[in-house]
Amino acid sequence: MKLVYFAWVRERIGLAEEDIDLPDSVDTVSALIGWLATRDEAYAHAFERPEVIRAALDKHHAPHDASLAGVTEVALFPPMTGG
């Protein structure tokens, strides 16, 4: 699974993107955020408030309960501030 991060999520983790093999139990956006937060302190800091994190699956916005089945790229980022 390709993971991409933006804005302060990217800065806190220290990576713009990475490839990770996920355990089978990590099958939703919500489960992914929870699992990443346990990896180390940087990830824990990035995901300390899971409720503010937005997700896109293969470049489409998705809610936290969306399934990761068949997804190639997951993006995690803070609320958008464009325009």
Binding site: F6, K59, P78, M80, T81, G82
Partner: protein
């Protein structure tokens, strides 16, 4: 329909002229320009990060929703990324329609949804710099379109 994301400065006079020129069918053209404020001299620049590929696709999706909802003739969205100086243009939205009501509504809809759904993030460069926080008012502005009929 023209959607562009660019690091080069946006020339609104040229964009406006190109969009409106020789359009005998349009009775109304709205151009909305979002600019980088100098915040009273406090801000040196904005850095605008975006999600390449998704940013274009998401703006096109929002534009498609607007076109399904209002009878408009054409629209264009140009959004900047990278380092933007105070006074420079961040986003330029143009809508052409036969009548003004559709043009106004569509431009408002595009901006309200660009703010909440287009994957861009602003960071301020300057002594008090940091990531710009999303505004609750923007979510409210976007949500109100769901409760209203065109």
């Amino acid at each position: 329909m023209d959607v562009r994301i660019q690091s080069a400065p946006i020339d609104i006079a040229a964009e406006t002229a190109r969009f409106a020129e020789g359009r005998g069918d349009a009775g109304a053209v709205i151009a909305f320009t979002g600019l980088c404020r100098d915040e009273g001299g406090r801000l040196a620049a904005l850095h605008i990060e975006h999600y390449p590929g998704m940013a274009e696709a998401e703006i096109e999706r929002i534009a498609g929703e607007a076109r399904a909802r209002w009878a408009i003739l054409d629209l264009a969205v140009v959004h900047r990324h990278g380092r933007v100086l105070p006074g420079e243009v961040i986003v330029h939205v143009m809508v052409a329609a036969a009548h003004r009501t559709e043009a106004f509504e569509t431009a408002g809809y595009l901006m309200d949804h660009l703010k909440t759904n287009a994957p861009f993030w602003k960071k301020e460069e300057g002594p008090d710099g940091g990531w710009v926080e999303a505004k609750a008012a923007d979510d409210v502005a976007a949500r109100r379109w769901r409760d209203s009929t065109p």
